[in-house]
């Protein structure tokens, strides 16, 4: 085989990594490179250094160590039976690339994953070695996210957590049936087992740090996972409930939803068609509702269409919920508790906090609310203000039609 250049390898291994949606570089400890011999800092908020034309941010150098894999998962471009071009980085190549990108301020750090070669343990060792070299040999203090192989030795995973800010294990498919069909070598029980062990490890280290200030940190940015949407039969209701139980059981920071993208040279089961981007977007919105707006999974599931089990695509799930629960509206901006304001479609967390702070000093009128939010039009039917009462609006049968955006073509053809 011809020797590949670093650039060719980088292109192959970045291409192979792009189906993973995760890019966050936030939520870790605050640290910087002063007093050290290397570079790197993390200050809580992540930074997106560039955006690709697919609208996704580029925060980390997201690559695979190798795209060779002994598994044959149908949805994956790197599966054993795929005829994609293979490449492999040495640990040192990844370290050098990360540092030279970081020095030029292209990235916040590294997100390293890998196809499984030889054995899960062997693969995990290679990943850990990259993180170790960055931290110990180069005193790198930027962000590191390592993909964890569920079947690897717990001892290796412990080492990974000592170097990395975030660890993640992908559940891949929302249903057990889907996993069995599309990723026959993976096992839902083992994946969740590994997530549970990660959670326990994080809690142990957290306890130790409360007692001893110098106890080592373990993956301070927590763990996350990813589900592929649209490759198996799971409807939105099932996905939301699965995500909610993952948040509860394993204390996940994030669940990423990735609309199944057609991959070159697909397996027979997977047709080449447009990824369900709008559905993915609605799932993220419902995820936000669970994490920041105080809805539980059952409430969001109730906003899905009873027959198809999917969230409406033309309106957001919060509005869908409100339209089904019209008796809870309108809400008085001057009196309602925080929880009730958070349920008003169109009011975000920041706007609600601003309303709460302002109304201590004045009776809010509709104009005041307009200054605190981005759009008042959507809000009006659901709010009572000092000078506004939406008589009958909430009860109108055509309210949904009035609030839903007019049908437009998908944004796939818009040019810049």
């Amino acid at each position: 085989m011809v020797q590949l250049s670093i650039r060719q390898k980088l292109e192959i291994l970045a291409d192979a990594a792009k189906y993973d949606a995760s890019c966050a570089s936030s939520g870790t400890t605050k640290r910087d490179s002063r007093g050290g011999k290397g570079i790197g800092s993390t200050e809580g908020m992540g930074i997106c250094h560039a955006y690709a034309p697919d609208g996704r941010c580029i925060s980390l150098l997201k690559i695979l160590l190798t795209n060779s894999c002994i598994f044959d998962c149908h949805y994956c471009i790197n599966r054993r039976s795929s005829d994609v071009r293979r490449a492999r980085f040495a640990a040192k190549d990844v370290v050098d690339l990360t540092l030279s990108f970081y020095r030029r301020n292209y990235i916040e750090g590294l997100f390293l994953s890998s196809g499984i070669i030889r054995s899960p343990d062997y693969t995990m060792e290679q990943l850990v070695e990259v993180a170790r070299a960055l931290r110990e040999d180069h005193d790198f203090r930027g962000y590191i996210h390592l993909k964890t192989i569920p079947d690897a030795d717990p001892d290796l995973i412990r080492k990974a957590g000592l170097h990395a800010d975030r660890l993640s294990i992908n559940v891949e498919l929302p249903t057990e049936g889907g996993l069995k069909r599309l990723a026959p070598e993976k096992d839902g029980g083992r994946i969740e087992g590994a997530m549970g062990r990660l959670r326990a490890e994080m809690e142990d280290h957290g306890d130790a740090r409360r007692k001893y200030r110098h106890a080592p940190r373990f993956a301070p940015a927590g763990q996350s996972t990813q589900m592929i949407v649209g490759a198996d039969a799971a409807d939105d209701r099932a996905i939301i409930q699965r995500a909610s139980s993952l948040y509860d059981r394993h204390r996940l920071r994030r669940v990423y939803y990735s609309a199944f993208s057609p991959i070159p040279s697909p397996s027979a089961v997977l047709p080449l068609k447009r990824p369900p981007l709008q559905r993915e977007h609605r799932l993220y919105q419902s995820d936000w509702m669970m994490r920041f707006y105080g809805y539980d999974a059952a409430e969001i599931a109730a906003a899905t269409d009873p027959a198809t089990g999917c969230l409406p695509l033309d309106i957001d799930p919060k509005l869908a919920w409100a339209l089904q629960h019209r008796a809870s509206f309108p809400v008085d901006v001057n009196r309602a508790p925080r929880e009730a304001l958070l349920r008003v479609p169109g009011l975000g967390v920041k706007a609600v906090d601003r309303i709460l702070a302002s109304r201590r000093h004045r009776r809010l009128r509709l104009d005041d609310v307009a200054r605190l939010t981005t759009s008042i039009v959507k809000l009006r039917p659901f709010l009572v203000a000092a000078d506004w009462r939406p008589t009958g609006l909430v009860d109108r049968a055509d309210l949904r039609a009035r609030l839903a955006p007019p049908a437009t073509q998908l944004d796939l053809f818009t040019s810049s």
Binding site: Y19, N105, A357
Partner: protein
């Protein structure tokens, strides 16, 4: 009239000092003008700044100081006056900083927000290029960037780059100020021009390669990119030069997909000869399907059956009482009629794949009998997922929908059978679709003569379909 001259556009300390003195002497905001630098003569007879009152207490809420420190960096020339007006309000009225609906506070908040965003974007979009310079122990590297901020943020932002790149020697050049770090101290210089910065770096080729490879052309979403990375930043981002080509390429790819999709011939080659295994796996998954509520009352999922490379697929409505118990499609009375009709038409039943639009038996219990009920649009839509999977695996040349439910599942919309039957329709998956009646319709016709007539028509259509499959093969 008081005129205050600040030393620099981001001179927060100077503004604070002056504002404190003016405020202590109760100078009304309308009585003060603010300017930066030495320019501006004595247009009006300016009163000197009142002296500091020794020992005067002066306190403002923390939130005000935070907001003022950001807002003062804005390029809006009115910012100093706005901040002093806000300070005046803060000093005379309680709770001003919490009343977010107040127009003045809102205006200053918007300034502060714009500055914070600019600071954040500078941290994101500064791109260093490596150059050689003479160090203490021979040649060494310096990383130099050219950046054009919207507001006066460079000095305020220097700390971030020091913390991040402590062990590196770097310079950030901007039109207004330049900052330099040598590994130990930060120095400032006058503004520079773009040509003062290096014009390239070999690592940029790698970075561009990465940028192009990490982009997924299947999910083009330029609006999302533009809102976070507006075009004004593009000229200083090496990777942005690639964007027009990447977008055009993705659009061409999408157009190709759409142009080639409805063309019937040329069955795409099966990537791996594992369709039997895949079919069994999909069937297993369907056995546990809960996509619609029908699974609750049905005995089991009745999946399709037949050769997986069949050129012809028949779609029925849903399993009936007998199919539900047997777990196989088309075994009840309608199935038997269908078999006989196929035989008469000379179509080989064994070479066709048969399945149903809805895979669970929908019924209503009346005494001991389970009475068939027509599935509704939601149930058809929920189950269409499985039908699509089956058609993707079998890849037939011709698909026949028996009855209105099947036609709806095949075409994705409701159609009238009488108006669609008798001719082929191009389907999205490349196959040819035909619509005819469901055999149970023939069983239900009360009038003998009419039944015989309809049956002949059904057989005649099946014969046409058989001939069409031969022709397409």
């Amino acid at each position: 009239m008081h005129r205050v001259t600040l030393t620099a556009p981001d001179d927060f300390d100077g503004w604070r000092d002056a504002a404190r003195r003016l405020s202590n002497h109760d100078v009304d905001p309308a009585e003060v003008t603010w300017q930066v630098g030495e320019d501006g003569g004595d247009l009006f007879s300016d009163a000197p700044l009142p002296p500091e009152r020794p020992g005067a207490r002066f306190s403002v809420p923390r939130a005000f100081v935070d907001m003022a420190q950001s807002a003062i960096l804005h390029r809006d020339p009115e910012r100093f006056a706005l901040l002093y007006a806000l300070l005046w309000r803060v000093r005379t009225q309680r709770g001003v900083m919490e009343d977010k609906a107040d127009p003045l506070l809102r205006r200053v908040d918007i300034l502060a927000k714009a500055v914070r965003r600019d600071i954040h974007k500078m941290r994101a979009f500064v791109r260093f290029r490596e150059m050689e310079e003479d160090g203490d122990g021979g040649p060494t590297s310096r990383y130099v960037a050219w950046f054009e901020p919207d507001h006066h943020i460079v000095r305020a932002n220097a700390g971030f780059f020091v913390r991040r790149f402590a062990a590196m020697r770097w310079s950030i050049l901007t039109p207004e100020t330049c900052i330099h770090w040598d590994g130990a101290t930060l120095t400032e210089g006058p503004g520079a021009a773009r040509d003062d910065a290096p014009d390239g770096d070999p690592v940029e080729a790698l970075w561009k390669g990465y940028y192009a490879a990490i982009f997924n052309p299947a999910r083009l979403k330029t609006g999302a990119m533009l809102s976070e990375m507006p075009k004004k930043y593009w000229r200083n981002l090496p990777e942005a030069a690639l964007i027009p080509d990447l977008v055009a390429g993705a659009q061409a790819r999408e157009a190709r997909m759409i142009a080639t999709a409805p063309r019937p011939p040329a069955r795409p080659p099966t990537p791996a000869n594992n369709s039997g295994t895949v079919w069994a796996a999909v069937r297993d998954e369907a056995m546990r399907c809960t996509r619609c509520p029908l699974y609750r009352d049905a005995t089991q999922t009745v999946f399709g059956e037949g050769p997986i490379d069949a050129p012809l697929v028949f779609i029925g409505e849903q399993p009936g009482d007998q199919e539900d118990l047997a777990g196989r499609p088309f075994v009840g009375p309608a199935g038997q009629l269908f078999d006989r009709a196929l035989e008469e038409a000379g179509v080989d039943r064994a070479s066709a794949y048969v399945t149903n639009a809805v895979k669970h038996f929908k019924h209503e219990r009346r005494g001991k009998r389970r009475i068939h009920q027509t599935p509704d649009a939601g149930e058809i839509q929920a189950c269409r997922w499985w039908l699509t999977q089956e058609l993707d695996m079998v890849r037939p040349r011709l698909v026949v929908a028996l009855g209105a439910t099947a036609a709806r599942a095949m075409l994705g919309k409701a159609v009238t059978i009488s108006r669609t039957r008798g001719a082929g329709i191009a389907l999205e998956n490349g196959a040819e679709g035909w619509v005819t009646v469901h055999p149970s319709y023939l069983l239900r016709l009360p009038d003998e003569a009419k039944r015989a007539q309809e049956r002949d028509r059904f057989v005649a259509e099946l014969r046409m379909i058989g001939a069409r499959v031969q022709a397409l093969a």
